[in-house]
Amino acid sequence: MDRRLGAALLGAVLVAVIVTATAVALGAGSAELSLRDVVDVVQRRLALSPGENVTVLADRIVWELRMPRVIGALSVGAALAICGVVLQSLTRNELADPYLLGISSGASVGAVTVLVFGVTLPFTPPHLTLTVAAFTGAIAAMAVVLGMATGRSGSLPPGRTILAGVAVGQLCGAFTSLAIMVFGAREVSRQVMTWTLGSFAGVRWPSAAIMVAALAASLLVLLFATQALDAFAFGETSARSLGINVVATRWGLLILTALITATTVAFVGPIGFVGLTVPHLVRIATGSLHRTLLPLSALAGGALMLVADTLARSLRQGVEIPIGIITATIGAPVLVYLLRRQAARS
């Protein structure tokens, strides 16, 4: 099939999936609401109807609890997917994911410091302490990784960047294990475990708004970088000969993706597999040019995350399954299937 047609088709399918999944997600949960109720609440809130038959309870559940969660899942999924695309292209490494620069392990150090040692931060309201600490840890890890990987002339060779990320990640992992084993109560290790698998349970309008803003800003920047990313297809020298400022592009995009990833980790924890697999899935479907790859990855990442989050909170009554488990359970088989199909064709 013509790739452009395929891309348009995939985009349409993904939008349909997102709309359907949103409707389902707003209705599903411990309080089951009908589609009618959901539509009524949304219409009233968007001032499309007076909504006289909307109950206060339905309004609160749909608009205050579930809607921010849906929007948070869509934005984080989209953000992680496009960060994955960018990092895989910049490093020319198929295993690159948004947590490449030690971001998740650095964030874990911040989170564990708060959960285990009960640290409080100045100027930070208590309910945001974990978020701010995780964000700070992520940024600190990124700074160390970039500092370790930088060459004399300011270049940032991908191989060294990846290794520095692994080293910092291992060191942070050692710290978190030590903190939990030596100082943590049993209940704390469970809390830490839950945090490291990610959850959208705590997302309300303010945090959802921040995630949407981060996604919008990154999409805006990246739409201007699609050609530069394409130029990296044949490596660094080739990109340079096409007039790309390789060092500046790498620094700028690595820091941009790291900031976005750190923001998502701070609010919902590290959620694996979306940023790693979605770019591959979209590439297999529509090719590697970034002007289609980036927007479609954003849609696919959002859709996958929303479906995963809805499953996470409705598979078992009254219990939330950590979303990282769901994304891996959906993502891994799909990736294996597509890789096998590709292998069979070539």
């Binding site: 790739r3 020319r92 198929e94 739409l223 201007f224 970088a225 699609t226 050609q227 530069a228 394409d230 130029a231 297809a233 044949f234 490596g235 020298t237 080739s238 340079r240 000969s241 096409l242 007039g243 790309i244 400022n245 590439r283 090719g287 590697s288 040019l289 002007r291 070539s346």
Partner: protein, 250 residues
């Protein structure tokens, strides 16, 4: 055209090339020859502005290359690397279209002012029939021609080729160099084969141990003494209508 003035380059504190002063003749094919490790690729990359000299300067029409914005440089100088490769599953036409990047604005939806440039470049490199093929399915010779097309899509005034005939069989070598020769632009090619050099190039620059050994018209430069000294091969050079280099290991 392109002029190097006392240019040096070093890696890890070690001089790779030094004191290169060299001017390439416009609108002709100049060969850059020399043994392995003599610094040919380094000189090519310096001339392309891909590496910054440790000393000396490179000029394009009397403008220092270092002062040109990268995009503007890429609209005038194109490079075909030795073994450009990718793991990505790109269509041939998309690879050639990469050459248009320096000509298109970066904003989303920016249009190419020359919509025929890609087709013309593919025509000139004889890869039009490959347009829809995927990169991983191409042979070595096809990949080389696709990258020539990508470089031509940049519509350069200067084309730099790093061992372009490597991995090509004899007829493809001849075809490739004939195509390049017909372009009528300044071409500098790193070549290993002195026979091909003699057959296609009027000018030659010889690298030896990180320095420019000699440069000039091929009949003046490619002498049996030079081949003995630089390549350590005893050869007899026969000058006829087309230069011939015949050698025999003594």
């Amino acid at each position: 055209m392109i002029r190097l003035e006392k240019v040096a380059w070093e890696a890890d504190g070690r001089r790779i090339v030094s004191d290169i002063t060299l001017e390439f003749a416009p609108r002709t094919l100049t060969a850059l020859v020399g043994p392995n490790g003599s610094g040919k690729t380094t000189v090519l990359h310096l001339a392309a502005g891909l590496r910054v000299p440790a000393a000396g300067r490179v000029f394009l029409d009397d403008v220092p290359l270092a002062s040109l914005p990268a995009k503007q440089r890429a609209r005038q100088i194109a490079v075909v690397e030795q073994h450009p490769s990718t793991d990505l599953d790109l269509a041939v036409r998309d690879v050639v279209a990469l050459g248009r990047i320096p000509h298109i604005g970066a904003w989303p939806g920016a249009r190419d002012r020359d919509p025929n440039a890609v087709d013309e470049a593919m025509e000139a490199a004889a890869v039009t029939h490959l347009a829809k093929r995927r990169w991983p399915t191409l042979s070595g010779g096809e990949r080389q021609r696709v990258h020539l097309a990508r470089a031509l899509a940049q519509q350069p005034r200067v084309l730099l080729l790093d061992e372009p005939t490597n991995h090509l069989d004899l007829s493809h070598q001849l075809d490739f160099l004939e195509r390049v020769n017909r372009l009528g632009i300044t071409v500098i090619a790193v070549l290993h084969d002195l026979d091909l050099t003699a057959a296609f190039c009027r000018d030659v620059a010889v690298m030896h141990e990180g320095r420019l050994h000699s440069q000039g018209a091929i009949e003046d430069v490619l002498t049996s003494e030079l081949i003995d000294e630089v390549f350590d091969v005893r050869a007899a050079v026969v000058v006829d209508d087309r230069m011939r280099v015949n050698w025999s290991r003594a």
